[in-house]
């Protein structure tokens, strides 16, 4: 009863009518952001689809208007054996990168729970430094480390008797070259994923883990049956984000191969770029980009669903 008496006195404060309380005010607040996002992200997305249905070459670029060809660009791509290779390469590359990132990050995050405080601070700082390194900078570093002549990696591998790597050029063989690029991508991705997973691990209540131990569960069983299910939403978000980033990989490959990668190194984003800006077939390039977006829409859907759930905005 006491609550019922005092409540009405407080109510008017939050409902005080004022100039800011008009119904349109919140819409005015979000309007600029909607305008920018619609103009620079949504409109180009629509334009991308429209472009993919046109023949749009150098002549059309000068005239600022394309020639409608319907689904011809898509037919051309699907018949193109290079495109099949590119898709397969992108999928394998993404799968490898995401898998390795996840395994290493999980192991490091679990290790962080076990080490003493000082070591934890040291590992965390190293992760933050790597995280902060701009992608182009990191590509330059790895390029230098994997240099065929004076690279420190070739020296170390030779010294450790892994084999004779003196004057070994990693990029002569695309499989080796892509393996190097996997290292570059995974190295750059580990900090974000590890720190996110570690933050999640800290939230797993210790009494649950103790209970599992008392019941005789091994470390592996505790992780697999107790920790992992509790971290499932975080794992899903991290997997989705990594997949989106790695499937659309461009910078690392393009800059590592000195801005002219051979077709053996084409991933879907590079292929799309080459078709449009390299050989001025913007329609074809757009169609490839649309296919990339469609593949990623599924991943994005899962990501948005999980994020909405975790953030509880609905």
């Amino acid at each position: 009863m006491g609550v019922a008496i005092t409540a009405p006195e407080l109510e008017p404060v939050s409902r005080r009518p004022g100039p800011l309380r008009t119904a349109l005010f919140p819409y005015a607040l979000i309007a600029p952001s909607i305008l920018m996002i619609a103009g620079i992200l949504a409109f180009p997305l629509a334009m991308l689809i429209w472009l993919s249905l046109q023949h749009y070459g150098l002549k059309e670029l000068i005239q600022h208007s394309g020639e409608w060809v319907g689904l011809q660009n898509y037919q051309a791509i699907i018949a193109d054996p290079l495109f099949h290779q590119v898709i397969l390469r992108s999928l394998i590359f993404t799968f490898t990168c995401v898998g390795l990132t996840l395994v290493f990050s999980t192991l490091i995050a679990l290790l962080l729970l076990k080490v003493r405080q000082l070591v934890r601070v040291i590992v965390m700082s190293s992760l933050v430094f790597v995280w902060a390194t701009p992608v182009i900078v990191s590509v330059d570093i790895w390029q230098w480390m994997f240099d065929y002549e004076f690279g420190v990696i070739n020296y170390l591998l030779t010294q450790l008797h892994v084999g004779n790597f003196i004057h070994h050029n990693w990029f002569d063989n695309p499989v080796q070259g892509l393996a190097v690029l996997v290292i570059v991508v995974v190295w750059g991705a580990i900090p974000f994923v590890t720190i996110t997973l570690f933050a999640g691990l800290l939230q797993v209540p210790s009494d649950v883990l103790d209970a599992a131990q008392v019941d005789g569960a091994s470390a592996w069983h505790t992780f697999w049956f107790v920790t992992a299910p509790m971290l499932k939403p975080i794992f899903l978000i991290v997997i989705c984000l990594s997949t989106i980033w790695d499937f659309g990989v461009f910078n690392q490959i393009y800059v590592m191969l000195n801005q002219r990668p051979s077709s053996d190194y084409f991933t879907i984003a590079i292929y799309s770029y080459r078709e449009s800006f390299g050989v001025t077939q913007y329609g074809l390039g757009a169609a490839i980009a649309v296919i990339m977006v469609i593949i990623l829409v599924f991943v994005t859907f899962f990501y948005v669903r999980e994020t909405v759930k975790v953030a509880e905005i609905a």
Partner: protein, 301 residues
């Protein structure tokens, strides 16, 4: 049911038995701890080595860089590589361009995202959830896929090879993230703080300026740093949109370093160090801001 006394007896029994193995158990635990710590240090070394190698190379004189057996520590130290990098054509132009682009973009982005954050955190309105879902989803639009229409669109209005075009694109790219993060900061400040200020005689606007705004300060700094890092590091948009070297950004300059001049590792590593430096500095500040719930406890008591 076991009597308390009996349980006591059992406990002392096991304790005595445990005491015998306690010493060896302790050593085992210490050894395990040592292994964990060693693994942790190994992880830190592997992660940090590439960055160390960049900085070390940047400070080495030329003949110490091009060696078949590398010198692990830069000795003697030289600043020649940094001087070479800075003296390269267009370095200073491109630093200036990067700063202009990031600066103008951030001022606009902070204002726009701040409005949107207040709108979504402080007001309930129809379409709010849809707006927030859009904000999350749009962050996932791959920029690499949009580069073709963005180029054609800006080409149509004569904004390729201008800083304005790049600023507009970066603004749209960082906005969703900044709105989302700032919204979290605003939502974490309880409206009760403003309301109590209003009870004490503040106007609503005054309460907002005096109470909420200072508390959002760290949030503004954090999101600004995020925006800075994203824009400073961005490559493909700047590379496609900006064609003349005097209009390009630092990342584009750095990426074309090897192509145009062949690999000169010393100056390249010096340039890479200079490019990464502001980002690392800002990142370290950011860590501090993200570390604690800044207003936690502001309402308690």
């Amino acid at each position: 049911m076991i009597a308390p006394g009996a349980a006591q007896g059992i406990r002392t029994e096991t304790a005595r038995a445990a005491a015998g193995t306690a010493v060896s158990f302790n050593i085992l635990q210490q050894a395990r701890q040592l292994v964990y710590d060693a693994l942790g240090i190994a992880v830190a070394i592997v992660m940090l080595f590439p960055i160390y190698w960049m900085v070390a190379t940047a400070f080495k004189p030329g003949q110490d860089i091009l060696r078949l057996d590398p010198k692990w520590f830069p000795n003697p130290i030289t600043l020649q590589n940094f001087q070479d990098a800075i003296a390269r054509p267009f370095f200073l132009d491109d630093v200036k361009n990067s700063l202009i682009i990031v600066g103008v973009m951030l001022v606009l982005a902070l204002a726009i995202s701040f409005f949107a954050a207040v709108g979504t955190a402080r007001f309930g309105f129809r379409g709010r959830t849809a707006y927030l879902v859009m904000i999350i989803a749009v962050q996932m639009v791959p920029l690499n896929a949009l580069i073709i229409p963005l180029y054609l669109m800006l080409d149509g209005v004569g904004q390729t090879d201008t800083l304005a075009g790049v600023i507009a694109v970066y603004l749209a790219v960082v906005l969703p993230f900044m709105v989302w993060t700032l919204r979290g900061f605003v939502a974490n400040i309880p409206p009760e703080l403003e309301e109590s200020a209003m009870i004490d005689g503040c106007t609503r606007f005054g309460a907002f300026i005096r109470i909420t705004f200072p508390l959002i300060g760290p949030g503004l700094v954090a999101t600004a740093i995020f925006g800075f890092i994203q824009a400073w590091n961005e490559y493909i948009v700047a590379y496609v949109l900006l064609s003349s070297p005097e209009n390009q950004t630092l990342t584009v300059w750095l990426a074309s370093f090897t192509t145009n001049h062949g690999p000169e590792w010393g100056p390249l590593m010096a340039a890479a160090t200079l490019t990464g430096l502001p980002v690392v500095a800002f990142f370290l500040i950011l860590q501090r801001y993200l570390a604690g719930g800044l207003t936690a406890g502001a309402v308690k008591g």
